[in-house]
Amino acid sequence: MDVAVKNYNYTHTFIGAHRDGTRSIIGDYFDQAGCRSVMLEVANLCCVRGDHRLFAGLGFSLAAGELMQVHGPNGSGKTSLLRTLCGLMAPEAGEIRWRGTDIRKLGESYYAELAYLGHHNAIKDELNALENLRINAGLAGNVVEDKAALTVLRRMGLRGKELLPVKVLSQGQRRRVALARLLVSNAPLWILDEPLAALDVGAVGMMQELIGEHVSNQGMVIFTTHQPLQVPGVPTRDLMLS
């Protein structure tokens, strides 16, 4: 399948498909503001699920303070791409480099700089929102005090629900509990798979705000969504899988 990446918001269009197996680092460019510090580089990435090749020759780079949306119809490999970028799946071919080093070699020190939110919320029905948040932060290597965790949950619109078992919450509220994890993480790279699933309009607005804040603090976000997500003041780069 062909892969084309378009960069709508910059003056340069710089990414294309590479199927000839040549090494291809794309996107080392300078924007109008000056030097672009590339953090994540993907070169000639090929992903295979079963016998089916999802994409090949995919290359792009992401610099601090950039936001990228992965587009594509169902089954085009968006989730596989995100899981591959996290290191959960091994790519069939190609390289993913973080700060210039292959993520396979970096291992845990890459994970320390990565926050991933998948289709599943990774929260436990039996625990309440506060316990879930503290444990998830702990697994990600952060100690979060109760007070800080409560503040974050209230910001996520869960005031009054902090101590309820998560199983009594609605799907949207559960998603908010899962998203709260991002706020207690200090990872620069967020990889979000359908972060807006089940969220209401207010929560979508809040997510836009959160992503905007993260990006303006030199963070990076790669996400997929089927809903429009516009972060004011931050140009979104688009990656098309077809």
Partner: protein, 228 residues
């Protein structure tokens, strides 16, 4: 925000799994009730008249039941975390995955192995085992059941997400548990025969140490493969 040290991380994982087990008590009880039932069926089936026979087979029966009971709970070791996405987060944790896995194994043993150890002397009484044999039985179970959880973790990780994984994990793990069974029940039989049982317990200790060193790492690798 402070980073967690490895012992703190271990405590976090163990405590999390224990809290979850306490809030899902039915799962814990089924293992224990299964163990009690299987062991109790033997005196009923063989008949109280055959006390010497019961006496002889008691260590083997208790050990086989413990082995089967531990197989029952293996499926749950990673499956809940796998289904709700927590396992992905665990794999992406910036700390050593082996330590996280060790925490899960320890919690699994405390929930499904330790109750068997504590229940064993009561069940041993049904077989008319004297106090010295009950003591050695408990000690052998205390050393052996963690090995069952550790070997089981490898099997559970390898069969994660497979259909019919429950049966497959038993087929994978049971043969590997045979040494634990042999030395565990052998220790009690040695006491009954009036011979020293130290060698059997030492071998169980050796198995425990070998498993503790190797299985968390092997399980971690198996989980990474299963999650691809």
């Amino acid at each position: 925000m402070n980073a967690l040290s490895l012992p703190e991380l271990l405590v976090l994982v163990v405590r999390r799994d224990l809290v979850l087990a306490m809030r899902r008590r039915a799962d814990v009880l089924t293992t224990l009730v299964f163990f009690v039932m299987v062991v109790s069926l033997f005196p009923l089936g063989v008949g109280k008249g055959e006390l010497t026979l019961l006496h002889r087979i008691a260590p083997g029966v208790v050990w086989v039941a413990a082995l089967l009971a531990s197989m029952l709970s293996l499926g749950r070791m990673f499956s809940a975390d796998y289904l709700d996405g927590t396992l992905e987060q665990i794999l992406l944790a910036p700390q050593s995955l082996s330590v996280l896995v060790l925490g899960k194994i320890v919690a699994h043993w405390m929930v499904s192995g330790l109750p068997l150890v504590l229940m064993a002397p009561v069940l041993g009484l049904q077989f008319g085992l004297p106090a010295d044999q009950l003591g050695v039985l408990m000690l052998a179970l205390l050393l052996g059941t963690p090995v069952l959880s550790m070997i089981g973790a490898v099997g559970a990780a390898l069969t994660l997400g497979l259909r019919g994984g429950g049966v497959l994990v038993s087929l994978l793990v049971l043969p590997l548990c045979i040494p634990v069974l042999v030395f565990g029940s052998g220790a009690v039989a040695q006491v009954a025969g009036g011979v020293t049982y130290a060698a059997h317990l030492e071998l169980l200790c050796a198995l425990l140490v070998a498993a503790a060193v190797s299985t968390p790492w092997v399980t971690a690798q198996a989980l990474r493969i299963s999650m691809e």
